[in-house]
Amino acid sequence: MKNLNLIIVLIALWLLPQLGKAQQFTGTSGLAHIPTGEMNHEGDALIGGHFLNKAMMPDTGFLYEGEKYHTFNYYVALAPFSWIEMSYVCTERIYRKDAQGNIVNWSKDRYASVKIRPLKEGKYYPAVAIGCNDVWTSFALFADKPNVQFYFQNWYIAATKHFEFSGNELGLTLAYRHFYRGYNAKWNGIVGGITFRPAFFPQARLMAEYTGNDFLLSMDMLLWQHLRLQATVKDFKYFYGGACLQFNLLGKKYRY
């Protein structure tokens, strides 16, 4: 298993020199796990999926016979305006295995995310965004069933400021995040990250972040203006990442 993890890390590192603005696994803009104050471009529509390492999953809900497991999700997301993003995410859960241990059925956990940016980044002040995952339960719109779980439910406020030097871009993010469920409390509190976008290849972005519990190193990039990739390594051991197709519905073209 150690060799497998090493191979995955090497693949991630190999992607480094080849490898814009990332999507988190929720489909909205951010770093690999924490939200940022920046937003996707107005009209950006995303459809994609993420491999989710069990090391980064909630400590309950995604267990089969008491064991955590790797899984994946898929999502659609849209930024109808420059100040708001919305996404809809389905995360797969193992529903049943056969006697040989093969997965027979998957079920899914669904949630919607909303992110709003009340303050756009200025010369001397950062962009500030607020948002939440699992909107229905956040506002208790459809939470009339006591057995409904909110595995990814959280709200946050995030501030991001970018600095330019020699065409390179350095971004600093600081956020406060609160998860609803106690089993996700490890990710509560002050979180933050640093991003670096090199001048020679601005489509790529390197990221280092602290989730409240984990240190993550990540990279994402936008290829051919439509394919967005993200690769993340936790503690140099656990890989997770994903890909999505990105289209601008206003017909605009962006490098990242």
């Binding site: 849209l78 809809y88 079920s107 719109l141």
Partner: protein, 307 residues
């Protein structure tokens, strides 16, 4: 069961709709003449449900061949059937359905746009339908629809139930042209007898409209979700007398609570969608019709003819 006792004397609303329909046949000075043409098209009706733990989704995919005969002066004869290709919805969806076979006429009285339709509609309904749209200014308009319908089943057996139900809805639209954003609020009585309210927020992009909706029905309760309408290429088309083309749009609707019969209304036009609305672009210049058209139609000229 077929009901045959339908006297116009006792049904003033039907008489009024028929009168409007017949009156609409008179030439209207407001209506712009359009070249008669026949459009033959097909698309895919894509549906999926997420209601079982043991399956990811249940799919219903149907082919939707249809035609529109534009007879000029905003008269139109439309027809469409749906053939199931993939059906995980159950027995009742395993047959072809006639989802349109009707004649319609659009006309205008001052700024009031009206569309009268008679014939077969979607959801196995037939009857009379009248739609109205009244722009009060650039950003606000009223809309309304009234129908008197019965049921018709063609496959697997023939069944006809005479018109016995009034349906209708009334509401207002706000359009913010700077952001191509539209808000709609509607109250109505729908096909399954439920009465409800619906609020919709739409953002129109180039060739795509995405909307969020929330609604309440007195029979089915609260629901919400999103809808996507994508106008399908090619966006530059040549206009001939007979045109074979893909369907103008692909539409999907997602419901959180999967209440498929909540606030359900038939469609009279085979390609009806929220982006285009009910009326022709040349008749109604309001809302998304003030944006760049999705389809640039070029009249086909003969070789010897100068364009």
């Amino acid at each position: 069961m077929i009901h045959r006792h339908t006297s116009l004397r006792h049904r003033p609303a039907i008489a009024l709709m028929l009168a409007l329909f017949l009156w609409a046949g008179q030439p209207q000075a407001h209506a712009q003449a359009t070249s008669p043409s026949l459009d033959i098209f097909s698309g895919l009706d894509f549906n999926f449900k997420d209601i079982h733990f043991e399956t990811q989704y249940d799919f219903l995919i149907r082919l939707t061949p249809g035609f529109k005969w534009n007879m000029g002066n905003h008269w139109q004869l439309s027809g469409q059937v749906m053939f199931p290709i993939v059906n995980q919805y159950g027995y009742e969806y395993s047959f072809f359905q006639v989802t349109a076979l009707n004649v319609s006429k659009e006309f205008k009285i001052n700024s009031l746009c009206l569309k009268a339709t008679a014939g077969a509609f979607s959801h196995n309904r037939y009857g009379l339908d009248l739609k109205a749209f009244l722009p009060l200014c650039d950003w606000f308009a009223f809309e309304g629809q009234a129908g008197y319908v019965g049921s018709v089943f063609v496959s697997p057996y023939w069944e006809l139930v005479a018109p016995n139900r009034f349906v209708g809805r009334f509401g207002g639209d706000i359009y913010l042209s700077r952001w191509n954003t539209q808000f709609r609020g509607v109250i109505g009585k729908y096909l399954y007898g439920d009465i409800g309210l619906e609020g919709i927020a739409m953002r129109h992009f180039n060739h795509t409209t995405v909307s969020l909706y929330g609604r309440w029905s007195n029979k089915f309760g609260f629901d919400g979700g999103f809808r996507v309408v994508i106008m399908l290429p090619p966006y530059h088309r040549k206009q001939r007398v007979v045109n074979v083309r893909p369907a103008s749009n692909w539409r999907m609707s997602y419901s959180v609570m999967v209440h498929e019969y909540s606030l359900l209304m038939y469609r009279t036009d085979p390609e009806e969608n929220e982006r285009d609305g009910w009326f022709s672009r040349d008749l109604l210049q309001w809302g998304s019709h003030t944006m760049e058209p999705d389809f640039i139609i070029k009249e086909k000229t003969k070789k010897n003819e100068k364009p």
